[in-house]
């Protein structure tokens, strides 16, 4: 047995000869198979040899024939032609795969060594156009819905009349509604600009485009072919006007949404300030740094989760929320107990001292974490966008708006229904009277300061999603937050809410007309003028508390 194997492994002259014969026979057999399959001719196999002629006209017709053949190899052939990988030699057509191996275009089988010289099929601009159209129509029939959708969008843009038959076929067999819509849009786009389209078809196309109703549809409707009959022109004009007013409407809605979004960011940043400023009349210039601390807490939580428990990443923000509240809140209480407590009744000095604290906190964070931006990730459930009308709302913005209002509601409830809230309100309205009634005002000050700072920390968690987490994060919000609080009025959370949302929306509505910077300047001036009219804000406290 062992001897036999050895004999088989050891090449003897006879055996080598025999192997060569075997190989030749095999090759002939493969060749025969190939020919046999070529003999089973369809439109694909008939069209293929035309490439071998290497004339532009023949190539062009071959592309059309191949593309409409329905053969699964046809897409490979057209792609290979586009990339210069379609080779001809000895009357045969080959595809050089991206991996480098050579296959027979007719059968798709691997072709060992090329017989003789191979050269690529030449293309010119006309051929290239046919290639693009063919590819569009080929992917229109792809099994993958995403590819079909992409192809439909491509056809919508190219508006190639040659694709029309394939498009009809694709529409007829399309099962998914949104792909079908895209395909019908593409058909409408082609029909509208097609010279010899019937008026009926055009009117239907106009109707489809009107339903689509975006900027691109508008462009198509306003560029009708010159030979369009008057009723089509009129219908198109009407549809375009409809789209225009719809677009204006959605643009306004979008601006308002951006304004609410900006307003909720301002609300988050300012609401903690409203509490500290309201209760103690203390200008806390380090408030922005509390926001920054919250953002860095989020960063730390995410880092820990990444290294220890990657599965929890989706919940990282929820975990960061209480931690950020605790971190910023305890820093706030610490500041109150060590510095601000000694400065009551001297608001201007408090302003300076807290500014100093903000410098120290900024530099501290810069020393520990470095001056560069830190990467805070977005959990999967917050990425993506919701499409309404022509605008798309990103989930993280929606989350921040919802979150800001939730924080506002919770704070409102805390202030209204808890003992702490009662005391804070009492101290805000009349410090001395509250003290006389047995409220330990200094303790309430510390707690209120902690609460305000903690809320700033939570704001930091949210802002880490839309802003750069850097030591300067807080600086960017401090002036805006003061504007909100001063505009809204001190000692009233509703004032802060109205102030924040008003400023946010006003800012975004001004932006398209005045530009971002001028809009902001105009708003600052408006607030300065407003304070002259109502020095204590929109929702001012009334009565004796004002002079206290």
């Amino acid at each position: 047995m062992r001897v036999a194997i050895l004999a088989a492994l050891t090449p003897s002259p006879f055996k080598v000869h025999f192997m060569n014969i075997l190989r030749t026979i095999l090759r002939a057999f493969v060749l025969l198979l190939g020919m046999a399959s070529a003999a089973l001719t369809g439109p694909y196999e008939e069209a293929l040899p035309k490439f071998a002629n290497d004339s532009y006209a023949d190539t062009d017709t071959a592309i059309g024939a191949v593309a409409s053949s329905g053969n699964p190899l046809s897409i490979d052939v057209v792609e290979a032609l586009r990339d210069g990988r379609l080779l001809i030699g000895a009357g045969q057509v080959f595809i050089r795969r991206v991996s480098g191996e050579l296959t027979n275009a007719a059968t798709g089988q691997v072709w060992g060594n090329p017989a003789g010289e191979l050269k690529a099929v030449r293309v010119n601009n006309r051929v290239r156009r046919s290639i693009e159209a063919a590819l569009g129509s080929l992917t229109l029939l792809s099994a993958d819905a995403a590819k079909r959708l992409e192809a439909a969008h491509a056809v919508f843009r190219s508006r190639d009349e040659a694709v029309l038959p394939t498009l009809e076929k694709a529409i007829a067999q399309e099962g998914q509604t949104h792909v079908r819509n895209a395909l019908e849009n593409a058909r409408a786009a082609i029909l509208l600009s097609k010279q010899d389209a019937l008026p009926m078809q055009r009117l239907a196309a106009i109707e489809t485009l009107r339903a689509r109703g975006d900027q691109e549809a508008l462009a198509l409707l306003s560029n009708l072919p010159s030979n369009a009959p008057p009723d089509v022109v009129a219908a198109a004009g009407k549809a375009a006007a409809g789209i225009r007013s719809r677009l204006t409407f959605w643009e306004a809605v979008q601006n308002v949404w951006y304004g609410i979004s900006l307003g909720s960011v301002l609300l988050l940043a300012a609401i903690g300030l409203a509490i500290t400023f309201g209760t103690m009349g203390v200008i806390n210039m380090a408030h922005g740094e509390m926001v920054m601390l919250g953002a860095y807490t989020t960063f730390m939580v995410q880092e820990l989760i990444r290294s220890q428990a990657p599965g929890l990443f989706g919940a990282s923000l929820l975990i960061a929320l209480p931690l950020a509240f605790l971190v910023a809140g305890s820093v706030g209480v610490l500041i109150e107990r060590t510095v601000i407590r000694f400065l009551y009744g001297r608001p201007l000095e408090t302003l300076l001292a807290t500014w100093g604290i903000s410098l120290i906190l900024q530099q501290g964070v810069r020393t520990i974490f470095g001056p560069t931006n830190r990467e805070v990730g977005t959990p999967a459930w917050m990425s993506g966008a919701l499409d309404i009308g022509t605008m798309s709302l990103t989930y993280n913005r929606i989350a921040i708006v919802v979150f800001a209002f939730a924080v506002f509601a919770i704070l409102l409830l805390v202030l209204r229904y808890t003992p702490l809230g009662l005391y804070v309100r009492a101290v805000t309205q009349n410090r001395r009277m509250a003290g006389s009634m047995g409220i330990r005002t200094s303790r309430i000050d510390a707690l209120a300061f902690g609460l305000g700072s903690g809320v700033a920390g939570i704001a930091g968690v949210a802002l880490s999603q839309i802003d750069n987490v850097s030591p300067n994060l807080g600086q960017g919000y401090i002036i805006d937050s003061f504007m909100v609080v001063v505009f809204g009025g001190v000692g009233n959370l509703w004032g802060t809410l109205v102030g924040a949302i008003t400023l946010g929306i006003a800012n975004k509505l001004l932006e398209p007309y005045a530009g971002a910077v001028l809009g902001k300047i105009a708003l600052l001036i408006a607030i300065i003028v407003f304070i002259q009219r109502r020095p204590r804000g929109l929702f001012a406290l009334k009565g004796r508390a004002v002079e206290a």
């Binding site: 810069r366 003061f482 910077v517 300047i521 020095p535």
Partner: protein, 378 residues
């Protein structure tokens, strides 16, 4: 008030120290041979000049904060406006020597493809006009802003916040290229001032001496204002605004006048600052700068007039040293200074020194004469 004379002991001391600074620095720079221990190298002259300008700015803040209780967190804006007025004059002096060689338009306008000089640049090639603008522009802004603010009785922290908003808005505006004032880069590449090359050592000495003189003049002016009846009303406004109003004084007029005066002083400081540092850009409007000025005043001693000068010089010398030796720690030091001064030295260095002086002199007097002495002035 111990004395009603303008030239009391403190004034004399300040003036003689300033005179010494005005004489010693040029002497040490020009007469002492390089390498000797007394020699002051060339690059230190504009640095000292810069400090002196800051001292004048601090003085202007003290005039309103220390004597009238108005805490402006936007005084850097008046400083920068004065600086821009001077910068525009210096830009026009460049003439055809700019990179693009345009005889009229400054380089940045050629770069932005502007065809003609904006109207507000007219007249700035003439020094007296520019000098007038150095006073008028900050003064006018202060008048308008103050008129609105004081008339509707915006006081305390509210006023501080809107001054901050004012300087922030100005910063945003000056960052715009459309503003016609150099945008982001500001005004720079100055060649000469009144025919003297800006970079030359002798010009720098002259500018330095001028700054010291301006500081001395500013100090005397503030001293005079503080000692006058007008100044007494200001102090009354600071300590009891409502009561002063009920006594029949038009509080807002007093506030407005002193606010505008202070803004003009700040403008002069800015105008002297620009040729010495060679550039003015919108970052001078940054709210943080204005807040820093307030700490100079607080460190030196608010309401003392000499204190802000001491504070500005000390803090800026500290800044220069720290940012070179321990750049990481400068903000820690500055931040701690803010906290320390407000908590433990509410009257600043000068206030603390004066307390010490009075206590020791009281002790001395008590030792000399056993019976208690009542102060005539108290």
């Amino acid at each position: 008030m111990r004395t009603h004379s303008l030239f009391d002991r403190q004034t004399n001391l300040v003036l003689s120290l300033l005179a010494a600074a005005a004489i010693l620095v040029p002497a040490m720079n020009g007469l002492a041979p390089p390498g000797s221990a007394l020699h002051l190298s060339d690059h230190l002259v504009p640095l000292l000049g810069k400090y002196v300008c800051f001292a004048l700015l601090a003085l202007s803040v003290d005039l309103i904060w220390g004597f009238c209780g108005i805490l402006s967190l936007g005084h850097g804006a008046f400083f920068a406006l004065g600086g821009y007025a001077m910068g525009m004059y210096l830009m026009r002096q460049i003439g055809p020597r700019g990179v693009y060689g345009d005889p009229i338009l400054p380089d940045f306008m050629v770069f932005l493809n502007w065809k003609e000089l904006p109207w507000f640049w007219y007249g700035f090639d003439w020094f007296p006009f520019a000098a007038l603008m150095v006073l008028l522009v900050p003064g006018a802004l202060a008048l308008v802003f103050g008129w609105f603010a004081f008339r509707s009785r915006v006081t305390g922290v509210y006023f501080s916040i809107i001054t901050q908003a004012m300087t922030f808005a100005l910063m945003l505006a000056f960052f715009r290229n459309d503003m016609g004032l150099g945008g982001n880069n500001g005004l720079t590449d100055f060649k000469e001032i009144l025919g003297f090359p800006v970079q030359a050592g002798s010009t720098r000495i002259a500018l330095y001496v001028l700054s010291v003189l301006a500081l001395a003049g500013g100090y005397l002016l503030c001293r005079w204002v503080a000692g006058s009846t007008f100044g007494k009303v200001l102090v009354a406004v600071r300590d009891a605004e409502s009561r002063t109003r009920f006594l029949g004084y038009r509080v807002e007029h007093y506030k407005l006048a002193v606010f505008a005066l202070s803004a003009m002083l700040a403008g002069i400081a800015g105008a002297l600052y620009v040729p010495q540092v060679g550039i003015i850009n919108p970052s001078e409007f940054a709210p943080a700068n204005s807040i820093e000025v307030v700490i100079w005043v607080a460190v030196g001693g608010r309401g003392t007039l000499a204190g802000p000068i001491v504070g500005a010089l000390l803090v800026n010398a500290g800044k220069t040293w720290f940012t070179a030796a321990l750049p990481e720690f400068w903000l820690f030091a500055l931040g701690s200074l803010f906290v320390f001064v407000t908590l433990f030295m509410p009257r600043g260095i000068l206030g603390a020194a004066r307390d010490l002086w009075e206590r020791s002199s009281q002790k001395l007097r008590a030792r000399r004469s056993p019976q208690p002495v009542t102060h005539a002035a108290e």
